[in-house]
Symmetry: C2
Subunit: 285 residues, 2 copies
């Protein structure tokens, strides 16, 4: 079986590394806009060879789209044009609504499976890829009823074999929930980093006074703008609502501080504390 | 030498554990409002015995105030009343302005040293204490010129001996900087936890869809309201300004999303990315 990974970065690279462990005979072709990344991916053993998309896709049985979501939207129709009749295409993008709409407009829609593995780090590129990223994590599949049964079965089997847990929902549900549990936390973290850098002009002060708590809260502010800007844009309506909610609660909390309403402040924090129960599950994932 | 720790929680307990490693002959007395915590602290080897404050303090050479900052303000005058003439009192509170003002009003002010070790976790109580919490971290001392030289020398030597790095500033500087690099990140994290819990009523969805990124950003939302409400209240002017700045930047970013201004969105995130340089230092701390 020949698998082509388009975009050999953190996610595409980690997926390939996990698959290689389970399927030593699978042949991996890499496609990447960056020649340096391509060479690095071969050197790191992520893919066997790097080829142009037009040559790689027609001979592939599985094509994995692991580029930023704006490029998924752009490349998906071209990829579906180029595949042979029995091939399967899967995307690993962090949004699903627009990608599924683009797929729906293509005559080979039925060979496509929309997926989102819930895993990542703040790092990017093939050097950030590692085989432990995906095992034990969740992956969401959308609109499976629009895909051929054999394509869904293949994609499910591969995710399951590398230890991922499968969930199913509509693209609209996916994008709504992700706005709250992922996109929002990225924006709050970017804004925290931005605020501290703008207001604490003396970086030595930040360095001396920040503890591991600050470091943890602001970690996602290190994430790639090229990856996240198109995710936020594709999911702008849900994200805007989530951000509006968040700003409203923050403003509410600010009045508790300004009014010295300590009981309201404690109540707010106690409600937030309930996240501990849920987090203890996530951290065990 | 006899040391009394008032408040044998995460910070007081960790400080005692670190000191015991360096000074096996030092005798430790614990004072705690909770009888359960007192027993636990003895069982865990954090202190040698637990006594009422009125008995412990007069025979101590060093008294460490490691209770929430509202209790530090309340207890500090009583502690300074009770010490013998050569004893030193140090507090480990996360605010410094009000505590130093309270100290300034006491005739034994010169035996007091105001300190803030920049370390913590989201957990509390003696069972959360661990000897690795403080070594390699920074500690800020304030208003040292108001303390007797021997008191400052003792406090400095103890922090240095357990591997902490000393910094000096005024209480006003301390509270201003801390609002940005610590208190703000706690509030943004509490508000994130609150928003997600309020808007994602199905906890299974949060559990299934949140990744380690969310978990990291929201970690501080698990922190103790009893500890943080008085910190935020004592530092309310600086925190309110920091929160106002943060909300303003968030609103700015929200307009980039609403207006689909992708270049502005990327620029904002790239500026925030600069935190990576500073964080790489903090994580090595």
């Amino acid at each position: 079986m020949i698998t082509t990974i388009i975009g050999i970065g953190l996610l595409g690279g980690s997926y390939a590394l996990s698959l290689r462990d389970k399927y030593p005979k699978m042949h991996f072709i890499g496609v990447d806009a960056s020649e340096v990344h391509g060479r690095l991916a071969v050197a790191k053993g992520i893919v066997d060879e790097v080829l142009p998309m037009e040559i790689a896709i027609p001979k592939s049985d599985l094509v994995v789209l692991a580029v930023p979501v704006n490029y998924i939207v752009e490349l998906l129709p071209q990829v579906l044009d180029l595949i042979h009749g029995k091939a399967t295409v899967v995307d690993l993008g962090s949004t699903k609504r627009l990608i599924c709409e683009v797929a729906d407009a293509h005559p080979h829609r039925h060979r496509f499976v929309a997926a989102h593995p819930m895993a990542g780090t703040e790092n990017s590129g093939p050097s950030a890829a590692f085989r432990e990223l995906l095992p034990e994590k969740n992956v969401i599949l959308c609109d499976c009823e629009k895909s051929d049964a054999d394509s869904v079965a293949l994609v499910e089997a591969l995710f399951r074999d590398i230890g991922m847990k499968l969930h199913y929902m509509t693209p609209a549900e996916h994008d709504l929930h992700l706005a709250y549990v992922s996109h929002l936390s990225h924006v709050t973290s970017f804004a925290l980093g931005y605020t501290v850098l703008e207001k604490e002009r003396d970086e030595q002060n930040i360095f001396d006074m920040a503890s591991t708590g600050f470091s943890s809260t602001v970690r996602l502010a290190k994430s790639s703008p090229a990856m996240w800007a198109p995710i936020f844009d594709q999911n702008r309506e849900n994200l805007s609502r989530a951000l509006g909610d968040y700003i409203e609660f923050l403003q509410q909390y600010k009045t508790f501080i300004d009014d010295r309403d300590i009981q309201a402040s404690v109540d707010f924090m106690q409600r937030a504390n309930e996240i501990r129960r849920i987090l203890s599950g996530i951290e065990k994932k």
